[in-house]
């Protein structure tokens, strides 16, 4: 059962889909073992994606982007999951980092930074979480101290996606003396392995998402031009984060959605071909009901997600609905992945079967982009 084309799709988007599918399966997948071994993806593959026009598709052409919409990003996200690539950090690079720049940077900064992100010359990352924070952004302790035309940034971050390969980094840090949310600013840094005051820490080994670099980062008097405060003035960071979060959360939900669809597809195929007790596993009522339930969840989630995407394309995706999507679809994806793995039996645990990776990769979605418990609190506030 192939999913029907979504209402928000178009012929052009389906062409992008084919291009993305071909890129992931033919160019990325052969390199995944290497990425897993080294712990991060090859940057050449970012540049290749840029060449193909797959990066920053929802950024205006004036800044080197594709001039498309979130629907283009959605197609890219879906095809990465369908191909089963765990390694490329596009969701952060395209749907998060580039959009902070687009929304808050000055015209000159946009002209400087966005084309490099769109071409894949640079990889983008955003450094929010610290060892002592998590969902509690008020607890950020990384400090940016004004020193003439510069800030000097000191502190440490962790769980930073693309932390090993990034060239461009948005850092959430405290500026000035304001307490709580009011003291947080976002600062953009151009970084390299030799940037003074910037150190890439360990690549964190994770249950899943192997081959995609999640790292610690350390700042020790890292110098950043004072003009690189996003939005041009201090203390806007928290509001900026809040404004961008719906898209980030929707992207996360969409990864979950595609994972859920893939889990069902893989499992229907497997249980039809695998025999036990003299007949296909699929003939057992338990298997049929499990998959009927999973397929129903898939259909229901898809209705909801498509609804959210359409709202977002119209600019109407509110915080509550995005939180619902993030919490609910990621929860369901994990549940479905677990039930599908169970239907694979022992083979579900073997690394040669993609369901094993899917189970491990999906799990983190309930945690990142705001833990699902935080999402529920956001929903509750709307009631």
């Amino acid at each position: 059962m192939t999913a029907a084309r979504s209402r928000w799709s178009s012929d052009e988007l389906e062409q992008v889909r084919n291009l993305a599918a071909s890129y992931f399966t033919k160019e990325v997948l052969p390199n995944v073992p290497k990425h897993v071994a080294q712990g991060y993806p090859d940057k050449a593959l970012y540049r290749r994606a840029g060449e193909l026009g797959l990066l920053c598709m929802s950024i205006p052409e004036a800044y080197g982007g594709g001039g498309g919409t979130f629907a283009h990003e959605a197609v890219l996200i879906e095809e990465q999951v369908r191909a089963g690539d765990p390694s490329m950090g596009f969701a952060v690079h395209c749907t998060i980092v580039a959009h902070y720049v687009l929304a808050y940077a000055s015209e000159a900064q946009k002209k400087r930074w966005l084309p490099k992100l769109a071409s894949g010359e640079w990889v983008g990352a955003i450094a929010m979480t610290e060892p002592g924070t998590g969902s509690d952004l008020q607890a950020i302790s990384t400090r940016a101290v004004r020193d003439g035309d510069f800030y000097r940034v000191s502190g440490s971050k962790t769980f930073i996606s693309n932390g090993r390969v990034c060239d461009f980094l948005i850092i959430a840090a405290r500026t000035g003396d304001a307490k709580g949310h009011a003291g947080i600013s976002l600062l953009c840094a151009e970084v390299s392995d030799t940037t003074p005051g910037f150190e890439r820490g360990r690549i964190l080994d994770k249950l899943g998402g192997k081959g995609q670099d999640t790292t610690e980062l350390f700042f020790d008097d890292l110098k950043i031009p004072a003009t690189n405060v996003l939005g041009g003035e201090e203390g806007q960071g928290f509001i900026q984060l809040m404004q961008q979060l719906p898209q980030e959360r929707l992207s996360t939900a969409l990864i979950a959605m595609a994972s859920l669809e893939r889990a069902v597809d893989l499992t229907v195929e497997y249980t039809k071909q695998r025999h036990a007790f003299g007949k296909p596993l699929f003939a057992l009522q338990n298997t049929r009901f499990e998959l009927a339930e999973c397929a129903t969840l898939r259909r229901v989630c898809r209705s909801f997600i498509d609804d959210c995407i359409e709202s977002h394309l119209k600019g109407g995706l509110d915080v509550t609905t995005a939180a619902m999507a993030k919490y609910w679809v990621t929860d369901q994806a994990c549940i479905v992945a677990d039930r599908c793995l169970q239907l694979f039996g022992g083979y579900g645990y073997m690394k040669e079967y993609p369901i094993a990776h899917l189970f491990a990769d999906t799990r983190v979605l309930r945690i990142l982009a705001g833990a699902n418990e935080v999402m529920k609190e956001l929903v509750a506030r709307s009631l």
């Binding site: 080994d205 994770k206 677990d338 039996g345 022992g346 040669e352």
Partner: protein, 379 residues
């Protein structure tokens, strides 16, 4: 919550103390397991052998310390809780059963004696086309002069790379029903014609494919009676399910304690996250379910000890089903409670998840256990 006898309490306390001392830190465990890539540490296991622990459940006449299923379960539970890398134990303990019940004197002395000294045993039943449906076995043992020639492939064989012997189940006859015509063999490690290859899994190096190509086994390797492996296997199911359940009870309790320790420590929004009602309530449910697992497991173990010959299909299946499903649930929820830290390899929660997620599959999937329970209810 289960009431232990003073002897059982002392045994459990000794194991707990040993694990705190030897496997209490990640560094200690990494040193024993090549950074987590191996599930079994022969040196550590040898220390346990010296303490006489590995003879638990083995009759005094073979050098064991006697004791029954309750004691075996206690050992499996507490070593699992202590994260002692002695992954070879469970299968070894299960393998001991058929030798004790059906083996020749010579086989018993060799195998049981080895077990007590810290040797590992393996069992090889599953095939690519015969998992939960063991009766579908096709690996062939053809009679030849003085013995049998084995040809076929086995899979999911735990311990094969470490074991002194494989307890192999192969087909000696095709006549009769699917359950007939199977025979058990004791195959020594290194027997020509047997090749062992590891399978990469989410859990690291634990299981193997085993290939038999014209592998000759002398008559003396038959365990029990020719063509009688099926009833011999059935007689061992209580112990397999209980030991697996015990091991998962231990792992589940460990995941629980790790999660609780974390949520008491970790602060968000100025309070320990464990003080939030949403987490507190989930933890309360998990505590309750773990106590239920413990009571169920040790009640069934006591029933097995009261009447060792009695088949307890419903009860043993319930113990296995409940303990493995609960352990998996604890690990899944524990990971969520620990946020990103649960996903990162430097904490143990992700290893708890990998260990428990497969436990609902091996030793008879949860679905098979439910089928069995349903059958005993007349459905």
């Amino acid at each position: 919550m289960h009431a232990r006898t003073p002897e059982q309490a002392a045994f459990a306390a000794a194991i707990d103390a040993f694990c705190r001392a030897k496997t209490g830190t990640r560094a200690q465990r990494d040193a024993l397991t090549r950074n987590g890539t191996e599930a079994h540490s022969p040196p550590l296991y040898a220390q346990m052998a010296e303490l006489g622990w590995l003879g638990v459940g083995i009759p005094l006449e073979y050098g064991g310390s006697g004791g029954g299923m309750t004691d075996i379960c206690l050992f499996a539970e507490r070593t699992s809780y202590g994260l002692a890398p002695v992954g070879g134990y469970v299968t070894t303990a299960v393998a001991a059963g058929p030798y004790m019940k059906f083996g020749t004197r010579e086989q018993r002395e060799k195998v049981l004696g080895g077990i007590i000294r810290g040797r590992v045993e393996a069992i090889s039943i599953s095939e690519p086309g015969a998992g939960s449906d063991a009766a579908a076995i096709t690996c062939r043992a053809a009679r030849t002069s003085g013995g049998f020639v084995i040809n076929g492939q086995k899979t999911w064989c735990s311990n094969a790379h470490l074991a002194d012997h494989l307890l192999l189940v192969a087909r000696t006859s095709n006549s009769g029903s699917r359950h007939e015509g199977l025979t058990m063999f004791c195959v020594p490690a290194g027997t020509p014609g047997m090749e062992i290859r590891g399978i990469p899994t989410l859990g690291g190096k634990e299981v193997n494919d085993v290939y038999f190509t014209d592998c000759f086994l002398p008559e003396s390797t038959v365990v029990g009676a020719v063509d009688q492996a099926w009833p011999q296997l059935m007689a061992g199911l209580n112990s397999e399910r209980l030991i697996l359940a015990a091991s998962m009870l231990g792992r589940g309790r460990r995941a629980f304690d790790d999660a609780v320790a974390y949520v008491k420590e970790r602060k968000q929004f100025g309070k320990p996250v464990g003080s939030f009602q949403a987490l507190k309530h989930r933890i309360a449910d998990l505590a309750m379910e773990l106590d239920c697992c413990e009571l169920l497991l040790y009640r069934v173990a006591a029933m097995a000890d009261e009447a060792p010959e009695r088949m307890l299909p419903r009860e043993a299946s319930m113990a296995k089903l409940k303990a493995t499903e609960t352990a998996k649930r604890v690990a899944l929820e524990g990971m969520q409670m620990m946020g990103g830290y649960g996903y990162a390899l430097e904490y143990d929660m992700e290893s708890h998840l990998r260990a428990t997620v497969i436990s609902t599959v091996y030793g008879g999937t949860s679905e098979i256990q439910r089928d069995i329970i349903g059958k005993t209810l007349g459905l």
